[in-house]
Amino acid sequence: MTTAEDHILRMRSITKTFPGVKALSDVTLQVRRGEIHGICGENGAGKSTLMKVLSGVYPDSSFDGDITFDGEQVRFGSISDSEDRGIVIIHQELALVPHLSIAENIFLGNEQGAGGLVDWHRTNAAAAELLAEVGLDENPVTPVGRLGVGKQQLVEIAKALSKNVKLLILDEPTAALNDDDSEHLLGLIRNLRETGVTCIIISHKLGEIASISDAVTVIRDGTTIETMRTDEEPDQQALTARIIHGMVGREMGSMYPDRDVEIGEEVFRLIDWHVGHPEQRDRTVVDGASLHVRAGEVVGIAGLMGAGRTELAMSVFGRSYGRDISGTVEMHGKPVTIRGVSDAIDHGIAYVSEDRKTYGLNLIDDIRRNISAASLTKLATAGWVNANEEIAVAQEYRGSLNIKAPSVLSTVGQLSGGNQQKVVLSKWLYTEPELLILDEPTRGVDVGAKQEIYTIINRLAADGKAILVISSELPEVLGVCDRVYALSSGRITGEMAAADATQEGLMELMTKETD
């Protein structure tokens, strides 16, 4: 049996460490020639890191383990090394230049011509052939920006084909596509298999993975859990269940401190909330979400990447995301109008972003000024900031949240992730919010600081704050929250008390394909 196996790719004992974090630990991945191989795992499980190792984004010297491709051991120093071998990766965020034509994009970096001159006839003719191959009926001179996401995805694939691809890696290819486009894309991937191209497909849509793949590898916490052949498990439901079990089957430790809080009156309610995509007019990112949070209650929103979690939160927080927003926000049972961020802050809403470096902190400034940034008016008389009071406030939060820094005048950019997160938390706590939205509060934070952050959440709940936690880490959601909403493709697909919920049950709701 083993002799018949022809593996195009073997990754053995891959271990990759970032400062302070072991992202991959002894991962093994074997892909047979000409198959479609699915990779599943929670956010942060290590899928993307593994693919970056494979495609040479992380050079050979930066990880341990070895890669055999097409029968030869390979060492990639950069992406172009892996592309020369026929490995092409298509990222979720498409890497196309919108103002250039389809043909120009396909041959970007691989221009058709000689002596530094581009042969446009050859370029466009070759592009037209590739477009026919992927079933895209467009003129090659059309600017890519005029195409929808689905068609852009096909251009990416045509680009991959132009490089004589042997192994095509697709990262969440259907996350941004509607059903028709997804169907077309999956059909195309099947056709590619017929022509001998091997595909690795990373997706959160488990139904899709189960139906298209020949084999599925599940990754969790940076290690391979198992690789299953789909023909061994003909029942799709059973297969999906097995994948889910592999994705979440982790022991729940005593990470999560107990909380004993009397839950009070309703503080926040969102009714029939719709948010449109800021650029793509026909796309709805949040579709009729309704939810509520009470005083002293910690409510989770569980959703995978692309489900619309952050978009939901940011659209509520002063319309910081999206267009054509509709729906009602109620605070203490009364509808409120929120036109901008300062309105939201005035109404007692605070939002701690998942991406603290981009949205949360001024990294070149000190702790003190980052903490006061959202409440300067509170510190000021007639526009004059009371600098003594400001330092006192910062000292207080440094003490109560245990921010480890030489002084409150230390530059925030030099702190560790956990301490940066505590600075952002301090900033929002100082606005004295009634509703605190925490978006991935423990992302990029080490284990010790995670536990501290959970303790802070408990303390806030005990103070009667309403807390909304957005997370894709299921143990975190279940460990920290009283009640959980599942979000999938912009819709709330379920609500349950955390005590009754299981990781499997939640994952099923989070991967539910709505139509």
């Binding site: 910081s320 961020v341 981009t358 902190l361 001024n362 940034a373 959202a374 003594n388 002084s407």
Partner: protein
């Protein structure tokens, strides 16, 4: 426990801030030596103040614009336009001098409203808006003046840039009033520094050793008094120096101690984070440009007063001197970093270099090359020290 830091630590900890003062002292010493002491003579020091005051006024507004992450290329044209308006009001129409001042300031504010609208409300990059402004306001200057120069201004108007307070308190051959003012300023500086130091101790922040602190205050006091002594031995206290001093104090305060000032730094440091912290970024941007317009008008008044007339070609290249002053003074190209005090010292470095080279009889073309090289080196130093500090990019 709050530690005291030694001199080396003090200098290296914030090389970016202290480096500029060291460079300034070095350049002053260099040109004093090269000019055989003429640079620091009473007559030349007075001249230096009069000749570069308007650039320094522009630099104050410019550093704020740069900290917020913008640039303003139009200020030279605005200097010309506001001077022209003042000239038309007072010279062509014979109205009182103060009406000319008010008209110029109002014009500057209007210019700011125009540019602020395009930058803040419409969202066009300031580089483009002010490049257009550079053309528009230069053209308007020609139209306002009908292509001719106007002069002379009423004597009160001339006093703004050319007037001196001398002999108010008498003095045997030197002006006592100037010395009294300088002494008061030195005392105020000492008091402010002492308060800041004791506050830092109270909040357990590291401070420099006491002897170092005393040395610093004495050094600044000595420089101030020496400077005043030279002025007192020339024509006394220039009125324009008082205007400049007041502006520096006001804007140092506004940028460091007020909500508005903090919002500028927050926006320059991380625009997204500032927005999500409730900073009304449009409003701040708009006000910044209005402020720049008004400061450009002040510079326009001072310049036209000094020239005792308005010329259509006035103020050309002033924007570059003001921008250079801000960058030499430690402002970061990426925004978020920079101080009014730094921009003033940066402007003074440019002023001392130009003035020194003029005294030495070096021709314009060589001066231009030297100034350009210094600008590049100053920003290179900034980039280099940022890399060295290893702060997040």
């Amino acid at each position: 426990m709050a530690g005291t830091s030694n001199i080396l630590e003090l200098l290296t900890r914030n090389l970016r801030q202290s480096g500029i003062y060291i460079a300034f002292v070095f350049i002053v010493l260099l040109f004093t030596a090269l000019t055989g002491g003429t640079l620091l003579s009473p007559g030349n020091l007075t001249n230096l103040v009069l000749q570069y005051s308007y650039i320094l006024i522009l630099a104050i507004g410019m550093v704020m614009i740069i900290v917020a992450g913008h640039i303003d290329l139009s200020v030279g044209s605005v200097v010309a336009l506001t001077g022209a308006v003042a000239a038309v009001v007072t010279i062509s129409n014979g109205l009182p001098w103060w009406l000319g001042v008010v008209a110029a300031l109002a014009t500057g504010a209007l210019v700011g409203v125009w540019q602020g609208f395009w930058v803040a409300v419409v969202g066009i990059p300031a580089f483009i808006v002010s490049l257009a402004g550079m053309l528009i306001f230069r053209g308007l200057t020609y139209l306002t003046l009908d292509n001719v120069s106007l002069s002379p201004f009423p004597s009160e108007y001339q006093f703004i840039a050319g007037g001196f307070f001398n002999g108010l308190l008498g003095g045997p051959g030197y002006d006592v009033f100037t010395l009294v003012l300088a002494a008061a300023a030195a005392l105020a500086f000492a008091y402010k520094e002492w308060r800041a130091r004791s506050r830092k101790i109270q909040y357990r922040q590291p401070v420099e050793a006491l002897w170092l602190f005393v040395l610093k205050v004495l050094a600044v006091g000595a420089v101030l008094m020496a400077f005043a002594w030279q002025l007192a031995n020339s024509r006394g206290m220039p009125f324009v120096l008082l205007i400049l001093a007041a502006l520096v104090l006001i804007y140092a305060f506004v940028t460091q101690q007020t909500v508005f000032g903090r919002h500028i730094y927050a926006m320059g440091g991380n625009l997204q984070a500032a927005k999500l912290s409730g900073v009304k970024t449009k409003r701040v941007n708009f006000l910044l440009f209005v402020n720049m317009g008004v400061l450009a008008a002040v510079a326009g008044i001072v310049y036209s007063s000094r020239m005792n007339g308005a010329q259509p070609g006035a103020g050309e290249m002033f924007e570059l001197d003001a921008i250079a002053a801000a960058f030499i003074g430690g402002a970061a190209v990426t925004g978020g970093v920079g101080r009014v005090q730094g921009a003033i010292v940066g402007g003074l470095i440019m002023a001392v270099m130009s003035n020194g080279m003029q005294i030495m009889g070096i021709d314009q073309s060589t001066q231009s090359v030297v100034r350009g090289v210094v600008l590049v080196l100053a920003v290179a130093f900034d980039v280099w020290s940022k890399k060295r500090a290893g702060t997040a990019s």
